[in-house]
């Protein structure tokens, strides 16, 4: 019986650095998303954001004007680049040929800045959403490259992703693009040092955390961490957008495997579990569920009526070391949702698993 790690269950909680495929390649607007959608933010949330207030740790929240639209075309505004060259305030990653006083638009990334006033801020200092996407992709690639020591990369990426979040919040962007970027940033954090979700939540503003999409993401995380596979898949089917389904896809099999292990452990020996029933709950084809059971070291069987079953209380359950292949997300009503995995390149493929208690 192996020890379960204190974290690393459910969505995206990984212990060490893993290679990430930047998911921005899959970002195609599935439907048109306006850069700012006031309807997505309740009036109250907006009010909260316009009035700076102090929280427990005195972090002043920036007020923002709804009309701030970033126009900066580079990862770092030219003005800041020039200033930091003069002050020799360049990180190792930003130096051109190792020169501490020279950078370039391809290397410099805007720093996080704890200012609250938008009085002096110009739109040319704020990066537009496509540029932010590009910046995030660049940072993810940096995490993957093993050139520099972990601590150095981490501090740099931590600060620069914070700056991305700041630019997003200053432009009041709360739509799908933004949420998907937040989700990617969560991935980056987990993959870098399994940092706690709690810490990350502390830094997000309440309107973001309470936004419909973030609420949904948080709910999914909650279900997956608890192991509530039933509600997890129900919510996916009911509410998830295509983009969210893409992002969640790599974790589905882990949750399904966990469900299989629960069912196997808690069942009654004389009542083998019907696979048809389970496959509907786990949104997977019955044949593929059968395969998944086998991959996890469990045998399946057929009952008198010819239906496929999972005999329970088997002792040989184990998560496959080489990972799962991707199964298509199958809805109860196949007409409702097209199968996506073939069309869209899959983001964030994992090659290892969090450890689960084995029985």
């Amino acid at each position: 019986m192996e020890e379960r790690t204190g974290r690393g269950r459910g969505l995206g909680l990984r212990p060490a650095r893993k290679a990430l495929n930047p998911s921005s390649s899959i970002w195609k607007p599935m439907r048109s998303c306006p850069a700012r959608d006031p309807k997505q933010i309740s009036a109250e949330a907006f009010r909260e954001r316009s009035n700076p207030h102090l929280d427990d740790d005195d972090n002043l929240r920036s007020p923002n004007s709804p009309y701030l639209v970033g126009t900066c075309p580079d990862m770092c505004p030219a003005k800041e680049r020039a200033q930091r060259e003069r002050l020799r305030d360049l990180s190792v990653f930003e130096r051109l040929n190792g020169n501490p006083a020279r950078t370039s638009p391809h290397l410099a990334v805007k720093k996080f800045c704890r200012t609250i006033s938008t009085v002096d801020i110009q739109e040319s200092d704020i990066r537009s959403p496509p540029v932010l996407q590009r910046t995030l992709k660049y940072l993810i690639n940096l995490v993957n490259s093993e050139e520099h020591p972990f601590e150095v990369v981490h501090d740099f990426v931590f600060d620069r992703t914070r700056s991305i979040r700041q630019d997003l919040s200053m432009q009041n962007i709360n739509d799908d693009q933004a949420i998907s970027m937040y989700e990617e940033m969560v991935q980056v954090h987990y993959n870098m040092h399994g940092d706690s979700l709690s810490l990350w939540y502390r830094q997000l503003s309440l309107p973001i955390l309470q936004s419909k999409k973030m609420h949904f993401a948080r709910a999914l995380i909650r279900y997956s961490q608890m192991g509530n596979y039933k509600r997890f898949f129900c919510s996916l089917e009911a509410e998830a957008s295509d983009l969210q389904l893409c992002l969640v896809e790599p974790f589905l099999n882990e949750i399904r495997a966990q469900a299989i292990s629960y069912v196997n452990y808690s069942g009654y020996k004389l009542h083998p579990y019907p696979l048809t029933h389970l496959s509907k709950i786990l949104m997977i084809k019955e044949s593929e569920l059968e395969e998944l059971c086998h991959v996890c070291g469990l045998e399946t069987s057929i009952d008198e009526a010819g239906m496929k079953t999972l005999p329970v209380k088997q002792t040989k359950f184990s998560l496959p070391k080489s990972g799962f292949r991707s199964y298509c997300l199958s809805a109860i009503d196949d007409v409702k949702r097209p199968i996506m995995c073939d069309d869209v390149p899959l983001p964030l493929r994992q090659t290892q698993f969090s450890l689960t208690k084995l029985r």
Binding site: R4, L60, T115, F158, L199, R202, R222, Y262, P274
Partner: protein, 452 residues
């Protein structure tokens, strides 16, 4: 403000300079510390500041007095700091203080740093005579008298930096002083966290660093500090007696250290370790410091709940932690609706303090309690059949709590409870019944965190 004559101003300044120099030469920390406590707004510092505003050329005075001239690099910026602070120019005050602190630190402590370049630099700055006298004294260093003043300085650095940032931010500038304070304190920490009697100072500075990093949101930077403290094995925490007055500062540093590292363990969901650290902090916290106890309990209560220990109602009321009151009730009653309500109502507070996810995880315990209640009721009606609980009855109980869950989801939850050993038994899928073990069907957590 009453009129202040040049003569009086002159007197006040020279008086301060004398007191400072005397304190240094007689190694009197108790006198020196208040002279450095800029933000304390003491009457004497305020009157000194007024004098400095009148008598503009204090640097000359510093140079004129023989003993203070040897400490000029510390005193001149220190006076500038006191003057700026009084005028409400906090950014300027911080910059001046950092300069004074730097020289103070280098002056008193670089002797322990084996880095040759620093020593050379030091020797070029100060007159050789005074330097060697001090070197002599510090070799025979018995009591770390200069350390206490260092505590004061470290605290002042942080407090002034926070004020400076507020000032900068409100005038639309970039608030970077606190970050600077973090770097400065980190360097001080680095020099202290080694061998020798100054290790005690390292702990205190570490605590200041934690406060800085938590405020800045760069909590991950605490890691290297913690590593240094642990590898240097600065303390055997049992060594220091709790009620010893002379170790009062040390004691407070220990409590603070355990508080912050305990909080970090909560964020990383290492509940057993978090319990140890926060409990230590609570037990060693001075009885008079009620606010500190409250801060510790704010994190300790969720941790205890995770390992199945409920605080008594009087504790919650005494420390005004009512937000946990409803959570505890929900656990006692097995009322899932109440738990969710409590999380919703205090969502902001819980998210901000970082305990939201910890409390969310308590749902499993609430489910366990609910099912146990059903079992107990069944036992009263018909003991022979009590150990079989129909899933449908759980669905009904939840519906009664206005929670809509279908039988599949209930089966899923019960499977999880069995898997995590919160219920002993099995689910007969075909009959849609959970068959409970006849012995101890609802095991207590026994100090193991839920979900482990």
């Amino acid at each position: 403000m009453a009129y202040l004559s040049m003569g009086e101003a002159h007197r006040r300044i020279t008086d301060y300079l004398s007191r400072f120099s005397d304190a240094v030469s007689s190694q009197d920390a108790a006198v020196l510390s208040p002279l450095l406590a800029v933000s304390s707004n003491s009457a004497s510092l305020q009157s000194l500041a007024d004098a400095l505003n009148v008598f503009q050329d204090s640097n000359r005075l510093v140079g004129q007095m023989e003993r203070s001239s040897q400490l000029a690099e510390i005193l001149s910026p220190l006076l500038r700091c006191i003057q700026s602070y009084r005028l409400g120019r906090f950014a300027d005050a911080y910059v001046a203080l950092e300069k004074a602190a730097k020289y103070y630190f280098v002056f008193f402590f670089c002797l322990f740093v084996s880095k040759i370049p620093t020593l050379f630099w030091f020797m070029t700055v100060w007159r050789w005579g005074f330097f060697s006298a001090f070197l002599q004294e510090f070799r025979n260093w018995e009591t770390p008298w200069a350390m206490e003043a260092l505590y004061t300085l470290a605290l002042e650095i942080r407090l002034l930096a926070e004020k400076a940032d507020r000032e900068l931010a409100s005038s639309g500038k970039n608030p970077e002083k606190l970050q600077g304070a973090g770097s400065f304190l980190m360097r001080v920490f680095g020099a202290l966290a080694g061998k020798g009697p100054k290790r005690a100072g390292a702990l205190y500075v570490a605590c200041q660093l934690f406060k800085v990093y938590f405020k800045l949101g760069t909590v991950h930077l605490c890691r290297s500090v913690i590593r240094s403290i642990e590898t240097a094995r600065i303390f055997d925490f049992e060594e220091f007696p709790v009620k010893d007055k002379s170790t009062c500062n040390v004691n407070l540093a220990q409590v603070t250290y355990m508080y912050y590292t305990g909080r970090l363990e909560v964020y990383n969901e290492n509940f057993l370790v978090a319990d140890q650290k926060l409990t230590y902090a609570l037990m060693h916290c001075s009885p008079r410091k009620e606010t500190n106890k409250r801060m510790i309990l704010k994190y300790l209560i969720p941790v205890k709940l995770s390992i199945g220990i409920l605080p008594k109602q009087w504790l919650i009321e005494k420390y005004n932690l009512i937000e946990y009151g409803e959570v505890v009730n929900a656990l006692k009653k097995g009322d899932l609706r109440l738990l969710r309500q409590a999380l919703r109502e205090h969502e902001d507070r819980f998210l901000r303090s970082g305990v939201y996810l910890v409390l969310e995880k308590l749902e499993l315990l609430v489910y366990q309690r609910l099912i146990k209640k059903i079992y107990v009721l069944q036992k009263q009606k018909d003991p022979s059949k009590a150990h079989q609980v129909k899933l449908e009855n759980i669905v009904k109980a939840l519906k009664w709590l206005e929670l809509d869950m279908d039988i599949d989801e209930v089966e899923c939850i019960v499977a999880i409870l069995i898997y995590k050993n919160l219920i002993k038994g099995y689910i007969a899928h075909k009959s849609k019944v959970v068959v409970l073990s006849k012995q101890d069907p609802f095991p207590k957590l026994n100090g193991k965190p839920v979900g482990s």
